[in-house]
């Protein structure tokens, strides 16, 4: 290893420093793995709903009303005799899809806005003032108002929730862009003549990913809860659709005689959100230890 390569210079064979890979550290993080398992459980339920479900989620069977949980109906039946287990499984499909769609839309728009605001000083003021105003609204209320205005459908819920969370993501991305853009490797890229677009995509974005990933995990968690709230208040996908919020809304009139209708979808929500919160906490521990405890 001591071939003389540079003129008059002996090659230095300093030991290479090895770092534990991020993946490795995540795999060793117990809470992160717990969260991952919980969340993957829900994702599997959502993807394989057709195989996992034991009944038809919307078929009304008056004879079987209010059956308590048992071997035929794991989670019991509701006032229309529909199987709650089946509806919860299909509810996962809706909640997880809405969560993913919201995260995707929020990430796309929020990251673009944050990147532009952080990189181009002239756009910063205009964009962030607008984001501040959107953030001034209470999250649930704005989502409710938007969903109410747009009309009840899954797509509109995604739009409404994204409008609520885009400013939060934009703010996180902007904050980290402001730090990264001052790094010497960004100056170096300028010095070799790289375009603004290249610098943003190749240098700034990849180095701003950590806080973004953490934030997006929490956005997913909020989206699952918010979707349930919206459905519960009647601006979600219209009733026969098996959504967790819908099941709870229908069950709330029967809590005296059939508490299981409300119980199980709530547990499903709680497990999903808990899983996502654990994922987010774990990601933050590993990727971005200096980040604040919370910024919702």
């Amino acid at each position: 290893m001591t071939e003389t390569t540079a003129p008059g210079l002996v090659h230095v064979a300093a030991p290479l420093r090895k770092r534990k890979t991020t993946l490795r550290r995540l795999l060793e993080h117990r809470l992160f793995m717990t969260g991952l398992v919980l969340f993957m459980l829900m994702v599997i339920m959502a993807v394989f709903a057709d195989w996992i479900a034991t009944h038809n989620p919307v078929q009304v069977r008056a004879r079987f009303r209010f059956r308590a949980p048992g071997l035929d109906n794991f989670f019991g039946t509701d006032n229309f005799g529909r199987d709650i287990f089946t509806r919860v499984v299909y509810g996962a499909r809706l909640s997880i899809s809405i969560g993913f769609a919201t995260v995707a839309l929020t990430a796309l728009v929020g990251t673009s806005i944050g990147l532009l605001a952080g990189y181009f000083r002239k756009l910063d003021n205009i964009l962030m003032r607008f984001m501040d105003a959107l953030m001034a609204f209470p999250t649930i209320l704005l989502a409710l108002a938007l969903a109410a205005a747009l009309g009840p459908s899954a797509v509109n819920i995604v739009v409404a929730l994204s409008a609520v969370y885009i400013p939060r993501v934009a703010r996180v991305v902007r904050a980290s862009v402001l730090v990264v853009r001052e790094a010497d490797y960004v100056h170096a890229a300028h010095a070799v003549g790289a375009s603004n677009f290249r610098i943003m995509v190749e240098h700034i974005l990849p180095n701003s990913m950590a806080p973004l990933m953490v934030q997006l995990t929490f956005v997913f968690a909020y989206a699952v809860i918010a979707e349930a709230v919206l459905s519960f208040l009647g601006v979600g996908p219209p009733p026969p659709t098996p959504s967790w919020g819908n099941i709870i809304a229908e069950g709330k009139d029967y809590i005296r005689e059939a508490a299981w209708i409300t119980l199980f979808p709530g547990i499903a929500i709680a497990m999903t959100v808990l899983g996502l919160n654990l994922l987010g906490d774990g990601l933050r521990d590993v990727l971005d230890p200096r980040m604040n405890v919370d910024n919702r």
């Binding site: 540079a6 003129p7 300093a14 420093r17 010497d184 490797y185 170096a188 300028h190 070799v192 003549g193």
Partner: protein
């Protein structure tokens, strides 16, 4: 300085940073005069050392020269063409001739890119060569800076500070630049590594015919590599001459103070220590007259009134001091 082939000619270069106060209105309440009317030249193949305390404007000067910052006024001629005011688009193609080596070997390499990605970026940006040709060029550059070509697939965090600095040098060399601004390239390194990197840079200079502007606060390092040295204080050049004249026979009181702070290798040899008192004044409101008058041990009344120009006191030795005459 006629008859010398100058690669870089800087004339009356000024950089002021506006200081804004308030929100909404963003009134400009002052100007930080980071670089305040400096002129110098760098001959082809030589190394000009630029020294001074932190905050004196030496790094700003370096960044102006490679146009990471836009100058407020003045001209920067590279090979005779003024690059101080050319628009961004045109500038991008001119970037091939001028490159920079940064101080911090940890912040200067993108942690998400491989060494190959880092060194080949200039080639990609300027659409030079095919993928295979770029690969070959990266290997060649790595060899040139004394590293094994098979390090190309590794990430920056796997290397030590000195190795990372070599990668930074390889990136700067990728486009075959004529002129390289070295912004404190060894200040962040261990002393034992500093010499290796400095020697590498000297060898590269000889081999590739490079011209350096070597910025440092460390006079000993500058003495080792520079041909000529310029001393900056509060945005101005106060003394500039060839290396030997400066170190053997410093004329400006500030230079004398700086040099007296260097420890001597021979304990019997005593030099009169000039200790500067007080802090460097704010570059937002530099003192009237000579900028050094507030800390100068020999200042007289006129120093507080009239700003001394940088004049030749003999054989190209330029000094800005009322008390130094040819």
């Amino acid at each position: 300085m006629t008859g010398v082939d100058n690669l870089v000619e800087v004339e009356n270069l000024v950089k002021h940073f506006p200081v804004r106060k308030g929100f909404l209105s963003s009134r400009v309440t002052g100007q930080v005069r980071a670089v305040d009317d400096i002129s110098f030249t760098v001959a082809r193949g030589e190394t000009l050392g630029l020294v001074g305390e932190s905050g004196c404007g030496k790094s700003t000067t370096g960044r102006l020269l490679i146009r990471l910052l836009d100058p407020t006024s003045g001209s920067i001629r590279l090979n005779g063409d003024d690059i101080a005011k050319i628009p961004d688009k045109e500038l991008r193609s001119r970037r091939r001739d001028v490159q920079i080596i940064f101080q911090d070997p940890f912040s200067s390499l993108n942690p998400r890119k491989t060494v190959e990605g880092i060194i080949s970026e200039p080639l990609i940006v300027h659409r030079i060569g095919t993928t295979a040709e770029r690969k070959a060029r990266v290997a060649e550059l790595l060899k040139l800076v004394g590293m094994a070509p098979d390090y190309a697939r590794r990430y920056p965090h796997e290397f030590s500070g000195g190795q990372r600095q070599r990668i930074g040098i390889a990136r700067a060399l990728a486009l075959n630049p004529k002129f390289i601004v070295c912004d404190e390239p060894v200040s962040a390194l261990d002393v034992s590594i500093q010499a290796q990197v400095i020697n590498l840079m000297r060898d590269l200079q000889r081999e590739l015919g490079l011209t350096y502007l070597f910025i440092s606060h460390n006079l000993a390092v500058v003495r080792h590599i520079a041909d000529r040295v310029a001393v900056m204080y509060l945005g101005k050049i106060v003394e500039m001459t060839d290396k030997n004249a400066l170190y053997e026979n410093p004329r400006h009181p500030y230079t004398k103070a700086l040099l007296s702070a260097i420890p001597m290798t021979n304990p019997d040899q005593r030099r009169q220590r000039v200790v500067l008192t007080g802090d460097v004044p704010s570059p937002m409101s530099p003192p009237k007259g000579c900028r050094f008058n507030t800390r100068c041990p020999v200042a007289v009344a006129s120093c507080r009134e009239i700003e001394p120009p940088l004049v030749d006191v003999g054989r190209g030795h330029q000094v800005a001091c009322h008390l130094v005459t040819p």
